[in-house]
Symmetry: none
Subunit: 203 residues, 4 copies
């Protein structure tokens, strides 16, 4: 049905690429403002101010606030998934897997707590506002997939992978919450122990 790519199409495509690149750039900047304040209390003006982006530009590249936020969160979560994938792919047996997976998860809790917090914020919004549902579903299916691969690699059946994901997510979120609201937050070691114990439970 499609013609071979014409010059016009090519140019349009290149434009699209460039535009996407710019979007990523903007999202990167926006993310740092967003993760600090959360979805509800970050105005586009805040984002513009903190990121040295102009207010107009945000709307030039993104239809509305929702699209921007979805773009930001999904961008980060994709990266997070890649990171986790690498961690479990590198493992050569069940023990290594548990060690590596736990290590990667805890490191992310500590380093990127603010973004995960934002993700949970979005995931919650999705239960009220359907606009967020597609992205949440997409991200969660990637996360579930990571768990599935971990299960397989560990020689476990992957029948109840969704529930395994839910369990793991419960603990991940819990530790992250402690990381943010407890004073002092749990030490890296405590978190590692907890995470390992959990992984040992089903891997």
């Amino acid at each position: 049905m499609n013609q071979l790519p014409s010059k016009l199409q090519l140019r349009a495509e290149r434009k699209g690429k460039k535009r996407d690149e710019k979007k990523r750039q903007i999202a990167e900047s926006a993310l740092s403002a967003l993760k600090e304040l959360g979805y509800a209390s970050t105005s586009l003006r805040d984002i513009a101010a903190k990121s040295d982006l102009s207010l107009g530009m945000l709307h030039y590249y993104f239809e509305d606030k929702t699209e921007l936020i979805i773009f930001c969160v999904s961008m980060y979560k994709r990266e997070f998934v890649r990171g986790m994938s690498e961690a479990i792919d590198g493992a050569q047996n069940r023990d290594q897997m548990i060690a590596a997976f736990a290590e990667a998860l805890v490191r992310s809790i500590i380093d990127d707590k603010a973004i995960h917090r934002l993700w949970y914020d979005i995931r919650n919004q999705a239960m009220f506002d359907t606009a967020f549902q597609p992205i949440v579903e997409e991200v969660e299916s990637m996360l579930i997939d990571v768990v599935r691969r971990a299960l397989r690699a560990a020689g476990q059946p992957d029948r109840d992978v969704e529930i395994q994901y839910a369990l793991l997510d419960g603990v991940f979120r819990f530790l992250m919450q402690k990381q943010i609201t407890s004073d002092p937050p749990p030490s890296r070691q405590e978190q590692l122990n907890a995470m390992r114990a959990v992984l040992q439970g089903f891997l």
Copy 2:
């Protein structure tokens, strides 16, 4: 040290009681609006309109929006905890416990999903706004206590009760989310199965 209650004291007390009663009444009404739209997108005006309460009255009984919401959520969650307590207290052995606990949890997911959704909303807010932290902490410590009692009754060590809570909460939340966003939502039986399997994992 105190005199016997004087007439004045008695009257003041009765006033307080009445006021508390009214607060509960208002909260009940507010809850139904809140459940539907969530924290961020429910304005006090929405609540007033949906509940046939006047805007002024909301502020007459509650200092601000935050106090109202905290009151509502905590009121419901307290009741939820009581329900769960009863469920596990009635059980006379491990199997009964698992059955009863799973049953109670799933029933609540189905009947009260909207309120749990609100609870998760508030719990998330708490990571951005410290005003919500005390109530979240209070509710979670009650929930953890329920898990602890279930563990003990089942003859399990309650060392890692917080983590057990986190696991259970992860699944509970996951099923609730599905209940709300999946079409069709998982059947009661599927949920029961999943919940039982999880409980069997650590009870």
Copy 3:
């Protein structure tokens, strides 16, 4: 045209007296709240709370907020005028008059600055809201009268008494303002010196 006072009239009169007495009582209480916060930022609820008066009572005795405030201020200012009158009446020559008058004015600046501040607030309102004009006029004519009597007693012509009042009021207000906003406020002695110098200028 009038009948001789009938029993009914007498009773009504007595009632009126009682009511007036109560109004004075309320005003006294209200004044202490009012002088702290000023006209604009004192709500009737503030007054009720600070004075242990019920909100309903304030409206039971006073038509509206304006009437209450007018009543309060005028009550105080009347007393102030009486105090000043006494001070100058007691003097037996020009020097004593200057000393006594200055002394009384400065004492009032120090002791009652908050009420004078309120008076100046009302006087200012009167330039925007005619409701306040009668009381302001009444009080100022009393104040002018005090100045007139001081002039006469000092053997001065009282032709430009209004202007003399304006001059004196300018200084009085200025010292009061300093008393409130300067840190540290001018000492009693400094104020006395200034006030005496001014009085010497025209008495």
Copy 4:
């Protein structure tokens, strides 16, 4: 230490200039609403409506109501001070000074009574709300400076310049008040006579 102004700096500067210009413009509009109703009873909505400005714009240029009002009043009072300065600077001897100063003051009472009324309103607010104190202090120190220069030019000691200012201000305010609340207001000639008499008293 600074580089020569770069293009960026120049642009930013021009932006700031333009913004300032707009602020002045808005303030000018706002002033006419403010003059009429006074600080307490003018809402930003009133200002917006009367000035054909949008509510949003007021907040776009001014942080809050306080900043707007301070800007307006200080803008006008600065001009007033300049006018007075010119009047006294033009005089070549004491008599000319008295004549010119009185003339300028009375003219302003008649022409700008509404703005002075607003100034006195703000000055009063400052005694209740510290936010207004800096601007009041600034304006008054300019006014005192004018008096000081008049004193010096007339060959008088300027020891008690603050008190002289207070005296003059007392009369100025009194005449302005009469101008607004008396019916009929004092004639220009009466005011001139009064003002001259006062100036003769200390210049």
